[in-house]
Symmetry: C2
Subunit: 342 residues, 2 copies
Amino acid sequence: MNTETDRLDAKLVDVAKRAGCSPATVSRVLNNNPKVGLGVRERVLKAATDLGYVPNGSARALRSTRTRLVGAIIPTLDHAIYATMVNSLQTRLSERDVSIIISTSFYDVDMELEQARLLVERGVEAIALVGSTHRPETLAMLEQRNIPYVYTYTSDATAVGAAIGFDNVKAGRMAARYLLDLGHKRIAMIAGITRDNDRAASRRNGFLEELVKSGLGKTDIPVVESAYKIEGGRAGMQALMAAEQPPSAIFCGSDIIAAGAIKYCHDKGLSVPRDVSILGFDNLEIAELTTPDLTTVEVPAREMGTIAGDYLLATPAQREHMRQRELPLRLVVRASTAPIAR
Amino acid sequence: MNTETDRLDAKLVDVAKRAGCSPATVSRVLNNNPKVGLGVRERVLKAATDLGYVPNGSARALRSTRTRLVGAIIPTLDHAIYATMVNSLQTRLSERDVSIIISTSFYDVDMELEQARLLVERGVEAIALVGSTHRPETLAMLEQRNIPYVYTYTSDATAVGAAIGFDNVKAGRMAARYLLDLGHKRIAMIAGITRDNDRAASRRNGFLEELVKSGLGKTDIPVVESAYKIEGGRAGMQALMAAEQPPSAIFCGSDIIAAGAIKYCHDKGLSVPRDVSILGFDNLEIAELTTPDLTTVEVPAREMGTIAGDYLLATPAQREHMRQRELPLRLVVRASTAPIAR
DNA sequence: AACTTTCGTGAAATCGATTTCACATTTTTC
DNA sequence: GAAAAATGTGAAATCGATTTCACGAAAGTT
């Protein structure tokens, strides 16, 4: 009757019939089970392509409990630092025919929990998360179901989870150290929004810690927060420079923010780095687009994605050796920072 | 025996037992089937949360033939123009509890076909593609299985597919028109790599077409191609400016390329736009980071993602009215272009 | 008060694969 | 050349939900 929707989908039994064998054998061929006769194997393969057979992943997953699906929950794809990581993560996974479901939480741990639930329902075999701040329920759910997960952009692993990233406190300290070594005394920071964002918070904490250790009064260090947008950086800069004694060096929680800060300087006729040094974070491609080029701390986003992919693909036994990985951070000195002018 | 891996996963029958009803009823409750008594409904819900029950998506999908999964195949996530679109697409889909599997083809139609096959196997209910150049096998596979698909970044729909995007030829013409109107006569282009990329090719074609129509000799219009990287733009620019009579205006196939071109000018002491006008394409966030700010053609990436999401979520009947959508392009004039110096 | 409808529920079939187990054959071993 | 082991294949059970169908009870109709 339905001539249009004819031969819509051949199933495994149809392949079996056409090849003149049992479904079991077809299944074996499809799964590269070695103990199938050569002749049969070829007949099956031919029958399958003839029919344009595509296995039903749901059925397969149901019976075999292997979905070949992993999940990733990131704050947003609209920020290169995450998009780049996900890109290399996906690339690595696809080499092994594993697909990735991506969802975005917009830096909200409650939303993350919801997304995680959905991913579990979809049967993902492993999950990549960003940072180390999560709802206990989220982790409990994954642990109860034995779904391995990995934190990224941080090196703080939990008891059962893994972390592939870097030490954000150290990163903050590194930034502080560098500006101090340039002789700066009035140092400020435009951090990212620290609510629900342990990485932004840790960077700020490490930064402050190092400054305080060097004798600066904690209350003398202006810190403002800004969204990861150029406009946010500009606004943050404006707030900082409105002070009576404006800072001579500023650490920005991201290159995007730094770019906004530099833009503010242009507008106000401030010279970077003569009047004020600007230090970024991430080393995105845009760090070479500001004028002057941005000095920044490089985050190994690409590498992180690849290594996280390896972790997710690994067997439980292999994972044991991969539970924590601290990648090195590198300070990329360009032209937006300079020793303090006397 | 296994005390650790205890109570790993409650199934629907377990919920039924605990709630003292049949599996069928539990299923009904879970699917918001209205004809379930209030008392039972509550008991079921309670039993489900007590047990930490999470439905098995594979089983559900197998029986109901609804996976609530869609796929997207894009060239790369490592380019903001795609990441932004995917971000808004994902956001839209997640509002309806639909998950997205993302795969990247690196501008390669063969790889795309492979990825599409995998997506079909996973049971995606719809697919978003980029551009209108695809293997016939890819489309045939989707059509045979009645999987709706939508092209993005183009407005050329096929007979059965849909397209949500813009007219790339028109975009090229628009760019040409603008530079011509500024009085430029020696005009060049740094296009993206046009192999397997209909959008890059169409933009170039429209651009050339308009210039030729205005009397320029086609062979007098230098066109080079470059990857979507700053470095590529810089190299392309170098090639163009090495000519005896270097161009006075250059249309770049992307803001990234344009940024590289401007960088080259800085290095060589060329003034933009006095010595040479640079016109970009995309209007990424970086267009405001170049010095001078970049004049560019705005691509509505965010909107495209949202509308594509609507299309993928729509019912077959609704889709009929959404099969083609040409979004307007807008020229954003900033400071990198100027009338030709006499 | 008898007769339909509607409503809420459960039993059993089903979706499309994989996997276990059993059973011929064939090959190896002594 | 008989016994033991390996090999290739199929029948049937199974994964965990949804869906169809049937059925008793409650409500509505005349």
